[in-house]
């Protein structure tokens, strides 16, 4: 485990998280959530939690994003915050 | 056979839920009997467990996958969990039996899914009660919560929004609990409750353990709707369909209180909770605030189902306050109230379901004339109301008896006053309903000027609910009396052993 890499990804994760809840477009929020999950998946792979990383990649970055997009597709992209 | 009972109690409903889920798409008619059958088996199993535990006096341990305690997951059935198991299965069964018609009417095409979620919810609660593993509890909590969200979500028009709020707060609660388990794990390396209980006394001064305690309890408080975090409950419960409300309202908060009791008593010892942290005092005050707030808010409602939900909040305050009094009387009262309040709430919500079925609304004013047209239902409703008020010999009186005694013994007169205050408010609440259904529409039958020839009622035609709803309802309302009379015995034979010997 390389702590520098760890740190960079952590920072990126936090940035993604903040972006996901602050972006003014729900579709972007969904995609940013996907990116967030994917970065976490990387983080876990680095930390040696391969099974968790695999699951997060399939579930968090994959299916969850699709669900979010599907829901946004059926509701609205518009948001005020 | 007996050795596998702890597994059967939960496995049978689980398998049945799966079969029902599939049967919902194949043969809808098979769903209901399977669900009822599974819950009956579960109920009988739970009753057998209770009898066995009471007779032998030893807790039963069941090892899943054959692994011993700290490695694998075990179920521990002791006096406390056996008692709560019986309550859960009985309430779920009775409510299911009585709501056949409601389910048919409200969820025509989705009967299978509803019943499957119903049974899953029950299974989740059973598991939460029986499990001896802190993480397993989280998983089962989520099962119960998720199926609960679904059951509540399909109700009246505002139900989805209310349920979404419930889901957010419920998730916060569950996640806090999970975080607490994580903190315990980081401090001890174990997940098994008995194992944790053995390790924790050695690290009472650890900050991690302290935080685990705080965050776990906060999570549970959110789940049980204690005062500052109660916001989700009234909306969610009052908007749900009556079949779902009859299951969820009596059980969710009570099982969460049970888990709080279990965690405080069996995970962090009594010594840690009450002597080391001295958590009792402040939490009793929170409970007092809950009781006062719940009662006053109930007073402000015109929708009787919403009123009932605020009463539930006040009752949560009873149990939490009683438990954190920290003496035997108070704890007995709290645990007894888990049982009694489950039955009382069930009775009230079944009554609300029957009223909704007959009148179609949940406004207070629409209860008028029901004493004439539905005398048996009203009799049961009066009994339930009296029980909530705390009139002997209904069961509500006796748990209140223990709670008040505990308050006096602990010198917490504010808690006693809050209990009495809430009883009086409850009296106002229920007699207001009784008045409406008894007096209105105002009659002018002095001197027999109208059709009242002296026979039965003010010439009212009796239009009772269907027998399938009425009979279980009356059964439950009679149980209120039976439980009341057996209260003392439940306490001396069961609850007494559930409280650690150190508590006086």
């Amino acid at each position: 485990m390389i702590w520098q890499l760890d740190l960079i990804i952590l920072v990126l994760v936090i940035v993604c998280a903040i972006a996901a809840i602050n972006v003014k477009d729900l579709l972007s929020a969904a995609i940013l959530l996907g990116a967030y999950s994917f970065l976490l998946c990387l983080l876990w792979a680095i930390m040696g939690a391969v099974d968790v990383a695999f699951t997060e990649a399939t579930v968090g970055a994959g299916v969850s994003t699709v669900f979010c997009v599907a829901a946004v597709f059926h509701t609205t992209r518009r948001t005020t915050d | 056979m007996v050795n596998t009972l702890p597994a059967l109690v939960i496995i049978v409903p689980l398998l049945a839920a799966l079969v029902v889920a599939a049967a919902g798409f194949i043969n809808k008619r098979a769903c209901f009997p399977i669900a009822v059958g599974a819950l009956s088996v579960s109920f009988l199993g739970a009753a057998a467990l209770l009898v066995r535990v009471v007779n032998t006096g030893v807790a039963i341990e069941y090892r899943f996958a054959g692994w011993a305690a700290p490695m694998g997951i075990v179920y521990v059935i002791d006096h406390l969990s056996a008692l709560v198991l019986v309550v859960i299965t009985a309430v779920a069964l009775v409510n299911l039996v009585s709501s056949k018609q409601t389910i048919d009417r409200e969820f025509k095409d989705k009967e299978g899914a509803f019943l499957s979620l119903y049974v899953l919810f029950t299974a989740g609660l059973i598991g939460m009660t029986a499990t001896g593993d802190a993480f397993n509890l989280y998983v089962l909590l989520e099962i119960a919560s998720l199926s609960g969200y679904a059951l509540i979500g399909l109700g009246k028009t505002r139900a989805p929004l209310a349920t979404l709020n419930y889901l957010f707060l419920g998730t916060i609660g569950a996640t806090f609990y999970l975080l607490g388990v994580g903190y315990l794990y980081i401090a001890t390396g174990s997940l098994n409750m008995a194992d944790l209980a053995a390790i924790l006394p050695g690290m009472q001064n650890s900050g991690i353990v302290l935080f685990a305690f705080i965050i776990m309890l906060s999570g549970l408080f959110v789940k049980m709707a204690l005062f500052p975090v109660h916001g989700w409950l009234p909306g969610a419960y009052s908007q749900s369909s009556s079949a779902a409300a009859g299951l969820i309202a009596p059980l969710t908060t009570k099982v969460t209180v049970y888990i709080m009791v279990r965690i405080c008593l069996n995970l962090f010892s009594v010594d840690y909770t009450f002597h080391h942290l001295n958590a009792g005092d402040i939490l009793v005050w929170v409970a007092i605030a809950t009781i006062v707030f719940g009662s006053l808010s109930a007073l402000a409602q015109t929708d009787y189902k919403k009123m009932l939900t605020y009463i539930i909040i006040a009752e949560v305050g009873y149990m939490v306050g009683g438990f954190f009094l920290g003496n035997r009387m108070g704890m007995s009262g709290a645990i007894l109230h888990i049982v009694n309040d489950a039955v009382m709430t069930l009775c009230l919500f079944m009554a609300a379901g029957i009223f909704l079925w007959k009148t179609g609304t949940e406004e207070r004013g629409d209860l008028k004339g029901l004493f004439g047209s539905m005398p048996f239902t009203m009799a049961g409703f009066v009994l339930a109301g009296l029980s909530i008020i705390g009139v002997p010999p209904t069961c509500g009186f006796f748990s209140k008896w223990y709670l008040v005694s505990g308050g006096i013994a602990a010198g917490q007169y504010a808690f006693v006053a809050a209990l009495i205050f809430s009883s009086l408010i409850n009296a106002v609440l229920f007699f207001r309903l009784f008045e409406i259904s008894y007096f209105e529409p105002f009659a002018d039958h002095h001197h027999g000027s109208d059709k009242s020839a002296g026979h039965g009622g003010a010439g009212a035609v009796i239009r009772e609910a269907p027998m399938a709803m009425l009979v279980p309802f009356l059964f439950v309302s009679i149980m209120l009396l039976v439980l009341g009379i057996y209260s003392g015995r439940i306490v001396t034979n069961i609850i007494h052993f559930a409280i650690p010997a150190g508590v006086i």
Partner: protein
């Protein structure tokens, strides 16, 4: 230990706290329901990060034993007897697998909750035509 060391050596713990607070803030303070759901997702994954960090172990590898990884040493009789021919496996060499197992479950719970929450959000949108809470409340107040 100076400040920077503490900051870096426990970066994961700080990150989990920050993420958790971001999620919590979104759940409480955001106005849009889908935003709240996104916040909930972040909130839940923060705990997963926490658990996985518990499991981390310096100088250890992923928790999968390799076949024939080390030749039989026979040094430890007890292990040789139970070890099915494989060498004595040393716990310090492998990352703690238990938190991983727990987190698999938590991820699944997370996606399940997400699904149900989105379903509810769709229903809310159908009912009110908006996902903004203040607009919904206005609508409710108007009748």
């Amino acid at each position: 230990m100076d400040f920077l060391t503490v900051l870096i050596s426990r970066a994961n713990y700080w990150a989990y706290i920050i993420l958790m607070m971001i999620g919590l803030y979104a759940m409480i303070a955001k106005n849009n329901l889908v935003k709240k759901i996104v916040g909930m997702s972040i909130f839940q994954t923060a705990v997963i990060l926490f658990y996985v960090s518990i499991g981390a172990k310096q100088g250890a590898t992923i928790p999968i034993l390799l076949h024939g990884h080390a030749p039989e040493t026979g040094g430890n009789l007890a292990h040789a007897a139970t070890g099915h021919g494989t060498a004595a496996v040393q716990a310090v060499n492998y990352i703690n697998p238990l938190p991983h197992v727990l987190m698999l479950t938590a991820i699944v719970v997370g996606v399940a909750t997400l699904g149900v929450a989105l379903a509810l959000a769709i229903k809310v949108y159908k009912e009110y035509g908006t996902l903004e809470e203040n607009e919904i409340n206005q609508r409710l107040r108007r009748g």
